[in-house]
Symmetry: C2
Subunit: 354 residues, 2 copies
Amino acid sequence: MRDSHNIRLAVIPGDGIGSEVVAEGLKVLDAVGLKVDTTTYDLGAARYHATGETLPDETLAELRGYDAILLGAVGDPSVPPGVLERDLLLKLRFELDHYVNLRPVKLFPGVETPLAKARPEDIDMVVVREGTEGPYAGAGGVMRRGTAQEIATQESLNTAFGVERVVRFAFDKAMSRPRKKLTLVHKTNVLTYAGDLWARVVERVSAEYPEVTTDYCHVDAASMFFVSQPQRFDVIVTDNLFGDILTDLGAAIAGGIGLAASGNVNPARPGSASWSPSMFEPVHGSAPDIAGQGKADPTATILSVAMLLDHLGFTDDAARVERAVADDLVERQVDWVARATFEVGDDITARVAG
Amino acid sequence: MRDSHNIRLAVIPGDGIGSEVVAEGLKVLDAVGLKVDTTTYDLGAARYHATGETLPDETLAELRGYDAILLGAVGDPSVPPGVLERDLLLKLRFELDHYVNLRPVKLFPGVETPLAKARPEDIDMVVVREGTEGPYAGAGGVMRRGTAQEIATQESLNTAFGVERVVRFAFDKAMSRPRKKLTLVHKTNVLTYAGDLWARVVERVSAEYPEVTTDYCHVDAASMFFVSQPQRFDVIVTDNLFGDILTDLGAAIAGGIGLAASGNVNPARPGSASWSPSMFEPVHGSAPDIAGQGKADPTATILSVAMLLDHLGFTDDAARVERAVADDLVERQVDWVARATFEVGDDITARVAG
Ligand SMILES: CC(C)[C@H](C(=O)O)[C@@H](O)C(=O)O
Ligand SMILES: CC(C)[C@H](C(=O)O)[C@@H](O)C(=O)O
């Protein structure tokens, strides 16, 4: 058993701005005052080019031994599309059974949103995105590639097992929030097989949560409502692909991708057979265009560190980090100067420490 | 051969507000002064409940004989999800080979957008959505339904044939616009089989269009850019599902679903073997919550009538209708009073006639 004040953390800075933002996340984590042992793994484009490896089996086995993983970003234009995404990032999510991809969409006071009329109380939701199946399963194939008769298929695989566990998590999440509202987002009128499974599971499980108000929204309408009526949503549960799209859109309305945090969560009890370390990462990518310039916003990573702390049971420390970020965000509005990545990290660290 | 000043039009008002908005579309069409013969088809929820029919073969065969189809909206809560969508609306699109689902996203002057900083010149794009394959193919299945071992699959089917023809249409569309920019939206880093086909086809066809600037954007990033930098986009080409999501989002940023027009287009030359009538419809649904109250905005349908005229070669008349709408939209801002559906139709009709 791990000492409750000792976190064994694996760090995967990854590509592009990944290492820059992760450095600030670790700085803040350090200021919290817990004992943290970190080990850094050089997975990503550089490793792939040097050795051809994306996620070797031994590395994956080692990663299972940590309490949690902090990831920066993965992806580089020098690597063919899908290689690092599928064989590193998605492999981690799938192998470590991160079936909950938890993505808060929250407009902090002081943050500018592109929406003319939205106030912080209008944008405060959590997207519970399924993380291990659906269109992300990697199923599909291609026939007669490169000819006029080519066919390419891509299959969404959905299981009652996989849908039910994430739906239950979403109901529990809804119960923990004042509004207790859960919206299933799907496209049941077109994706009838998968949609029907999702709708039936939500309906069945809802009987066990009489206090939760449940509704349904097609993904196209939902993307419209994110812009026109974001206050409609409290907790959203949705599949892997719809969740991917909606959470980038959510990041946009909540002030930008520089602030959007996420957790790839395996909710099993530590010690149980199905447990494995959860992985926290900013929603943004590796942003090769600004990499190495020290100007990426590390806030999303720092908020991901708060989610990590919360997940490990350090609720007060998590709240402290989130408060420090919130205060910093208010300050940004008042005293606007462009700060370097490390300065944002320093300022938030000072608030956490002070 | 049809007389070039005589339009044989099939009208499918459909469900909910469908008949209300279609009536106004026809009123405006009438004012244009062309000779139009319309025949109305009572397809939709009422017909389904009365006879169990959605789209009988004879009706489909008849519909093939018209120059074009005007559709209101399809869908009703009294019918199980997917029945009218798959067996009526999508069946029409598939059977009539509407492989281009053309959806302008345009902020008219005077229209309020939820985006704080967007001006009309920032939001002016056309989404060329594939209309006959992809995740909409209806492929998939379910096994062990209702048990804990249930599996539901949903398959995206993409063919070189299907992708290439819509991509070519999109390049032609880009050539007709001042910016000549085409963006492929997909999710190539995860949906690697389908994404790879789309990316290769766009790359190959782009060689024939040296004047068109081509780029690529993941669908999650695209949904973010719709909100944060809509001016990034000129013409977008994308698959059926991504196009569905992005065009509702597009409607939201361009002033709401009440204004968004669309054409389900079969671009074949009239008289050629692959020709069939194209179908024009507002992007919005049947809105059962406001049906029968005479307050639905018919503007999207009227703009769809403009697209219909344009498609049939009545370019000047199309421009006249669009101008009448544009003028009406400016007026709304100045002289804001809530108008009934028929009043909006009357006002725009008066402008077209005058
Ligand atoms: C990089 C990519 C595979 C990933 C995803 O699609 O899940 C990213 O967009 C995200 O949202 O974390
Ligand atoms: C009603 C539904 C089947 C349809 C679609 O998904 O294409 C609608 O959302 C649209 O965009 O026209």
